[in-house]
Symmetry: none
């Protein structure tokens, strides 16, 4: 009916983008709604037409970030390759992701600290973790079934791999000059695979 397309969604996208940028630069609390409005070019009041509150907007940013991750990881599911190669590809994606979203790292840690006080944030992170783990689990279980991997505990291995991914990114937050996320994720994964692969 409406001759104009619904701008609602693109406005929301526009606002979340701006909010992400501003939150990253200043942190959730130092970033003001005015800052975000300025970044979008919209008026301050307009933000409230699309998001009920600053907290709402923070949650929207959270969803946006962790949704993006899912998209890229999901594509991997289709690939049919060896388990070791699957883990390496997974590492490639995490690596590419981490470098593409380097500027989102501070915001991610802010979400992590928020998760301890905010159930909504917690739930989102849990869902993310779940899909993350499921993906790894299916690869690892497949590797065990085919005899490519030793008969290890798949959940433990998945957590080990996940820990290496997340832990390496975190160490790079401690000291960027000492840790190269891409390089060290891969070297650590190889070390793990060395112990994991069934002896020939």
């Amino acid at each position: 009916m409406s001759p104009r397309p619904d701008v609602s969604e693109e406005r929301q996208e526009q606002i979340v983008q701006a909010a992400t940028e501003v939150f990253t630069k200043k942190g959730f609390n130092n970033a003001s709604m005015s800052d975000i409005a300025n970044e979008t070019g919209l008026g301050k009041g307009t933000l409230y037409l699309y998001y009920r509150s600053k907290d709402d907007l923070i949650i929207a940013v959270l969803d946006h970030i962790f949704q993006r991750d899912f998209l890229e990881i999901d594509e991997l599911a289709i690939a049919q390759i060896s388990a070791a190669e699957g883990i390496r590809r997974f590492a490639d994606i995490v690596t590419a992701d981490a470098s593409a979203m380097r500027q989102l790292i501070p915001i991610t840690y802010e979400f992590l600290s928020l998760a301890f006080r905010n159930p909504v944030v917690q739930q989102t992170l849990q869902q993310y973790f779940q899909r993350y783990m499921n993906m790894l689990l299916s690869i690892i279980r497949h590797g065990i079934q085919t005899g490519e991997f030793r008969p290890v505990n798949a959940e433990e291995v998945a957590i080990a791999v996940g820990a290496i991914f997340e832990g390496t990114i975190l160490l790079s937050a401690y000291d960027e000059s000492k840790v190269d996320v891409s390089h060290h994720i891969h070297s650590s994964i190889e070390l793990l695979l060395d112990g994991l692969l069934a002896p020939i």
Copy 2:
């Protein structure tokens, strides 16, 4: 000699303790100086006799937390044991630490996000990382020299071990019900050692 005993140090300790608690519960920004004063039982103005500003107090909490870590880790240096056993002991300490300071985890992630904007925080975290790595490096290098470990790149292994420690704790923040920090750190470390140990 002095008519009144110097309570300066115990007051500082008292305030940092209270601040740590309140910051953990509410986050740095939601915690007000009044909250902290109430927690200590002191007056609001008294805090300012010992800390120039809220930021100062945040830094004091940072130092306090990461100082405590160092003390426990340093003791390990004296132990003369096999490299694999050294890493396991290190894992024990990190594990015990993480569970003793479970409630400090949210604050730690808040520091991580702060580090990207605050050079003082960044520097403290770097120093922490450095000692952490040096400790691991000396164990791993010793293991390589004695032939206990394969001739791997020691820095890479240290980062892998560190990533497992930090990453496992982080994963438990994602979903506490799925990750047991102590158990999974140890299981991951064993997987790594499997690949690390020289074949007999």
Copy 3:
């Protein structure tokens, strides 16, 4: 064109008026921003939309007061009259001004004490003084040129006249019941014009 008319200027005027009143009643430091907000009927935060800080507002009050003076003095320049009459008219204006702004006198002295510590205030007062003096100087020099006055030092006379103006107002601050600003400014000016000593 604009849906809402720009109230910016009238708001500024409104705030400066209220601030002047409150500052006069309580002094700069005892007057709180809340007091001023109440006086305007606006909210506390609204003041900060128009003035960045309390200091800014104080300076705005300063400018406002000394600007008003200028306007009235400037009109005198047009008058073409004898020098003695010019000085008398000047006295009339200063007198009318002083009584119209009687309630501003305390604020003026607070500005004077501020000037010793605040360069911005100092500069504004200097500019005021300059125009004040230039006005008097042109009258006096004209009087000397036309032979109406003896060939005195014009700057010295201007300062004498200025001192009588300002000094009389100041003496009335010492004891209002003993000094009538209008009457005594005029009587002192006549003494200056006539000469005090009896001719031999």
Copy 4:
């Protein structure tokens, strides 16, 4: 009875001196009791043994400053000289005083603005003004009686002279570079004494 002399008075003197200095430098409100305590070398609490409050201390400083003035002026009363010379001597004293107490000028203007709100300050300034005027009046009346002066209104002349004194100091506060207190007080007084208009 007491073996030690009463230190009470010298303590009071010490505190008022320090307070005067600090008030002059920072203004009444920016100067804290701590600042004053530091300046004296005494403890903060000690000030309250001698002065009930900060306001009390401000009044003590007021009294101290205007008392000092009286002492010097009183000495003049004894001198038996011509009226014109008396006024010149008076000018000398005011001049010397103003330059000796140059740093007290800002504080004086702060007292003036205070006088409009504080009756105690007002009363002290009135007393000062009174003695000031009485002194001048007796000189001027004597001059009229002896025929040295024309039969003018003595009160008006006294106020004219007083206005020149105070006004010149005030003008120098406006712009120190344009007004030399000593020089211009004397030149203005001579103008008053000589008469400005040329005789026909």
